[in-house]
Amino acid sequence: MKVHNTLATQTSRRVFATGAISVVAALALSACGGSASSAPGSAAAKPDLKAAGAGTITMWVDAERSPALKDITEKFKTDTGIEVKLVVKDFAAVRDDFITQVPTGKGPDLIVGPHDWIGKFVQNGVIAPVELGDKAAGFQDSSIKAMSYNGAVYGVPYAVENIALLRNTAIVDAKASTFEDVVANGKKAVAEGKSTFPFLVGMDPKQGDPYHLYPLQSSLGSQVFGKNADGGYDAKQLLIGDAAGVEFAKKLAAWGDAGEKIINSNITGDIAKEKFLAGESPYFLTGPWNVPDVQKKGIKFAVDELPAAGGSAAQPFIGVNGFFISAKSANALATNEFVTNYLTSEAAQDSMYKAGGRPPALKASFEKAASDPVVAAFGKIGATGVPMPAIPEMSAVWADWGATELAIIKGQADPAEAWTKMAASIKAKIGG
């Protein structure tokens, strides 16, 4: 019995060793074969794309956009034989993952995201410019402007997003032309018992929400950064602390918790939506992402232009979603081909619109989508907007900006003093 077992052990070991060696040998041979065939590929008649490492393009997308890209990637595969691998990633982490992965050479060839990532991407040297040539004319100006950075275009846009004022037409039936009218209408509705809140806008309880308040700020003539010669934002011209900005800060205090309570620091985005859906307010300052729920609830609403609180136009920030090419793509030529000649097509832009409901950036697709009056209204308002600054310095602005606005709305700080201090703090961070 014992002898048998030892024998078995020995035989098994020998078998195992032989097997292992042959596996190693086979794998090693196949590896040599692989590299040998790819070396002299320059003028070969039938190049093997897979051997050249060019058989696939890897693209990072989120779960929502992945299905919308199926058709166009299949068309690309039939035309060229190159597969576009859609890797679904968590949207919250995808930007930072991209920045850390690209230098290792393990990153994707292509990524989907909003245009205000460009500054960080360029700062970290992870994306390459895209030359659209004549195709750029087919896109809405604002979307190309948003994708431009340091005088070059860095992405192919597919959707433009901005906020607008939703009005519950059952409570207030006429469009207001100024923010004062909006406030007056809202107060009247509250006084008549038709609603509980004169006006709704979501505030993050920790960070405020400068993005949603920006149209009001810009209507008072206050901007964050000035622009340089090529139309891009210039970090050296920080304008936020100017007199117009202080004026806005004072207004903010007047609208805030200690004043008229038009802007309520305790109303989060979720609460604001809930109250508007419950018909408790005539106005809701929000983006197209909340529209489907409002429609579902059966509330009759209109999409109004943003009300100006001062002498200038109320310009919302526009956010443009698009595709960016990695600076270290091993398959750059095929990726460029896919991005500039396939993703710019009407079919691709149409299908992205169908999946996400965001107004398309391609003019031809937008016109089709604009048969929906809501899309048309948002698009019209977006045309007056300004791109959200993409320069890396902007990330130094958000935290101070939001916290200061929140403190002013809460009545915890003297508006002029807090605003000036905020501007100084931002300047210190950008400068240092």
């Binding site: 014992k2 077992n5 078995a8 052990t9 098994s12 070991r13 195992f16 097997g19 292992a20 596996v23 794998l27 590896a31 590299s35 320059s42 003028a43 070969a44 190049p47 794309l49 050249a52 060019a54 060229t80 982490a93 930072d96 920045i99 690209v102 230098p103 960080k120 360029v122 700062q123 970290n124 040297g125 992870v126 410019p129 895209v130 030359e131 040539g133 004549d134 340091n150 070059a152 309880p205 920790k206 960070q207 305790n266 109303i267 609460i271 600076a327 270290k328 398959n331 750059a332 030529l333 095929a334 081909e337 500039t340 000649n341 890396p392 990330s395 130094a396 935290a399 916290a403 961070k429």
Partner: protein, 556 residues
Amino acid sequence: MPKTDLLHEAPDTAALASSPGRGNTGGSSAGLSAGRAGRGNRRFGPDSLKGIIVKIVLLGLVDALAVYVLMMLFLSQSWAALAVSSLVVLAINWIYLRKGGLPAKYLAPGVLFLLVFQVLVVFFSGYIAFTNYGDGHNSTKDDAIAAIQLTAQKRVPDSPAYKASVLTKDNSFYLLFTDPSGKVQLGSNGEPLADAPGAGKDSTGKANSLPGYETLAFQEIVASQQEILKITVPVSDNPADGTLRTADGSSAYQFKPALSFDAATDTFTDTETGAVYRDNGKGAFADDNGQTLSTGWKIDVGMDNFARAFTDPSLRGPLLGVIIWTFTFSVASVALTFVLGLFLATTFNREDLRGKKVYRILMILPYAFPAFLSGLVWSGILNPEFGWLNQTLLGGANIGWLTDPFLAKISVLVVNLWLGFPYMFLVCTGALQSLPTELDEAARMDGASAWRVFRSIKLPLLLVSVAPLLISSFAFNFNNFNVIYMLTGGGPRFADTDRDIGATDILITLVYKVAFGQGTGRDYGLASALAIIIFIIVATISAISFKQTKALEDVN
């Protein structure tokens, strides 16, 4: 698990969110080695045939995977990783193929995973602390130079768009350009445009063939893309006209670099202003005015990050306050949860209590929710105007539970008490039930009151087994990211700092904000340095405390 692994957990929310609840003891390595326990069933006798087969299959799988990994490493020319991996594979095979050495067979997988997932990560974080890794210093200098050159290529304003075809002759590549007027020209890398008579055109008017040259199909272009993308064709003898390049093999544009790189002097020169950008020794190219080019690279900075943690005025001011609050928070959290947990455990430990199981299950519920979820829910409950607490319980009062610096601290502690007492309740219940009842009876026979029995007998005995858990609970709360970040986000903000640091920030949320926060961009170097400082603090306190618990054991 007790958070001695804070270094790598610190910067990653996902990991923090998914890390198992408070104070789970029992290491992962034990579980891993347990998986292998079925192997040698008799300790010293020869292996059974079944055992050998299982062993061969498992080891075969491991080796197959290892061979694959080694090949990939070989192909990607990662020699250091290849050497280390080979050694590991050899060691694994030696351990499992030799006779005897049973402890090593049990320990090897656990030790391996410990090395890979803990030790390596800790050492990597340690290394990062001595670099300037972060936004703008993301990769090597070569990468940075390549990226700057790439982004410096600007299209010549108002230049025409060319259609392009790729041709080949004698193993070199040529580009055939058709300009908007239909004029056809040929060029190759470094050779200026020349007229190309006799070119054939396709239906769109794009020239696609030339006698003596072979036209490449798209697949062929892609297969040789690295060479084709490098082709730069000077438009004319005048360099100011720029060069033609193609990015997709079918169109070409005139580009001119805004910056030119000189490898010999290691400088960039602005082609318009003539400004020279030199390596400034801080991982970036800077001109004489200190203006830097946007992309920099990672360099070693020595102790700079540690120095900054203590000298940067925007960090130094709040840092002391944050450290004091971190200690207050973790000590108070442990004390409060322990007192409440112990009280409830003692109460529900009465033998004559009915429905004990139901109560116990209810008690454990808060423990069953993920902490980050509870944090968000509580943040809603505590909303000053719409929160359930103010609106329903306090009749519409407007109390800023999370917005007043002092109340926010109280709120954080209360919520953490709610989240943390079930753990202490479980631990104390277990410990109480293991105490011998004779002692209790004997004390009562001697006429001791219930309080006296608890004070003099139960508590000291309890502490022997519970004290190490209190220490690990302290270490956990010291780095209790979830509850702070989800409840208050560290706010309300301090007024006296540029940084987004607030009254309820503990060190770990501060580190997170430095590394990932919106304030000044990501700064992994500084965050790693801060994480190391936290590690030293927690390790020191834990070591001292464990020494103290030895004294507890001596009492008995």
